[in-house]
Symmetry: none
Subunit: 181 residues, 4 copies
């Protein structure tokens, strides 16, 4: 009874359920029914809190962007621990791929943002944030290039099903992030 009257919590539950479904099955598989079942709310609740499925999808993908951005804090901590940034980054990439649904979440966000301009800002959260972290170790151009390298390597591993090409990535990162780069 009392817990039912919690609009903010309910809205959050719906968004998180939608985000989880996108991670698991892709943004194209999002339906009101599945979100409602996953969130444990009646079907009508999904349309009560969101104008349309597109609106819900947008909210879920923006939440996904924040989930990805939160991961940046972990990466930041690890990079600040010292050690070779190239090696640390490569290790982080390997760990990133271990949680496949979460890794696919970023891919879904990217694909959606490519066609939906309102998601562009969300899509840039990760790359801009990571570039910011790497700017400590290299110039801005090199930092951005390193981000492209990381994203390309992660995408390649996810789409080909092959393990991360760690040696190639680490060597390349070292070349890019070295003071001479």
């Amino acid at each position: 009874m009392s817990v039912r009257r919690d609009p903010a919590g309910r809205r959050r539950a719906i968004v998180e359920a939608a985000c989880a479904l996108i991670a698991e099955d892709g943004a194209a598989a999002l339906t009101h029914r599945r979100v409602a079942a996953r969130a444990g709310v009646p079907l009508g609740a999904t349309t009560y809190y969101f104008t349309s499925l597109g609106d819900l999808s947008r909210a879920a993908l923006q939440h996904a962007a924040e989930v990805c951005a939160q991961l940046l804090r972990v990466w930041d901590g690890r990079l600040r621990e010292g050690g070779d940034p190239a090696a640390t980054l490569t290790a982080l990439c390997g760990e990133y791929l271990a949680d496949r649904p979460r890794a696919l979440l970023k891919t879904e966000l990217y694909t959606a943002a490519a066609r939906r301009p309102e998601l562009r800002q969300a899509a840039a959260l990760w790359s801009d944030g990571l570039a910011g972290l790497l700017a400590v170790h290299a110039g801005p151009d090199a930092a951005r290039a390193a981000v492209f390298l990381v994203d390309g390597a992660l995408l390649n591993a996810l789409t080909t099903g092959r393990p991360l090409d760690a040696p190639a990535v680490e060597a390349a990162l070292r070349a890019l992030l070295s003071p001479a780069g």
Copy 2:
């Protein structure tokens, strides 16, 4: 009457129409009806030549992989013309982004391949092919890293809507592809 019996041609027309639709609106927007209308064939033909919509989607995405691979021949020619490979590659990336639907086609293929193992081989066509081209100018690890960088930069441009960060890409490619890399 006017159209001779040409099962292979009809099948190809259907696949190409599906591929064009994926490029324009995404794989999720694929339906029998739209494909049939686009290909100029009766609705029944799409189910006659393909077991299911998933089957048609798979064929279309594999065709998309070949379309991308064909582009590699253009890139190969340009790279063979001599000149700085980093500069040439960067220029090619800029040209690549000019045809947005075709550029999105690879994104669709990647997203689909991440969830459908039968498409992994198709998804690897591009990266393996490009790595092969670049192996002329650098070692295999550097070539693969350069592919990751290119794919990451292209994806970033597509998803953020920003222009290609050509200076960062070119400098990074130069660092990766230089004999010293």
Copy 3:
């Protein structure tokens, strides 16, 4: 089996069912479900044969206009039998009101046409047709005025629930249709 493959018949059955529902419950009460049930076809058939419910509604109301126009042939026959046109017309009005659903059908058509320009032509079938019949007995202006009088009287009877004010109508028609009018 064999009877099921009759697209034209099926389309007609759907239109007639929709028209009957409009006569009974009004155009606003038209739904796919009710039409399908009334016509004895599956739910999907109503959307297979008509692009949208608006499309079906339009077809049904145009059919209604033809139903009304068919009645004009009866009126024509009665008016040609000789006798006082005013008395005959008044009698026909009384008979018209006896079949209440059919009488309401014209009201629905009028109301719909007032907001949907594509129905204007259909709505004019009755008044133009009746004016044509009456033009034999009076000038065109008087004929049109007589049509207005008849339609106004019928509408008044239908909406107030009172019986047709036959004496007033007949006297007025006589005044309008008399040679001196």
Copy 4:
């Protein structure tokens, strides 16, 4: 705070908003949400003051009848100014059609009254009132016939989209309202 407790005023605001919506989009387009938005009251207020949507619709259509009846005062004044009643009435009809939403309001009332007996009395307000005005210039039967003529002509103009057939209407009214009629 700013809005004092004014139940009667709020109820009236809701009814007037509903009436305006019926005039604009038809009675079938009436919903609690739209009425609440139009009246500037909370959604709950529409169900708080009216038992059901049907109840609200009835109140709105009865208000519409009063709006139409109010117009009779204007017509009364114009008819009392002297001059040819037929010409005056015809002119008033033309002015009536100039405000299309208000003109459609009477059509909505008529259509609703044809199916909802509780609205019959409201629907008769206009015709009885107008007949009362015209009874000054002619006998009761002629006055009623003139009302039918006017209503039929107005309906015809509204539904066919054609301008009022003023010559036919004026001539007919003159024939009906002349002392000899």
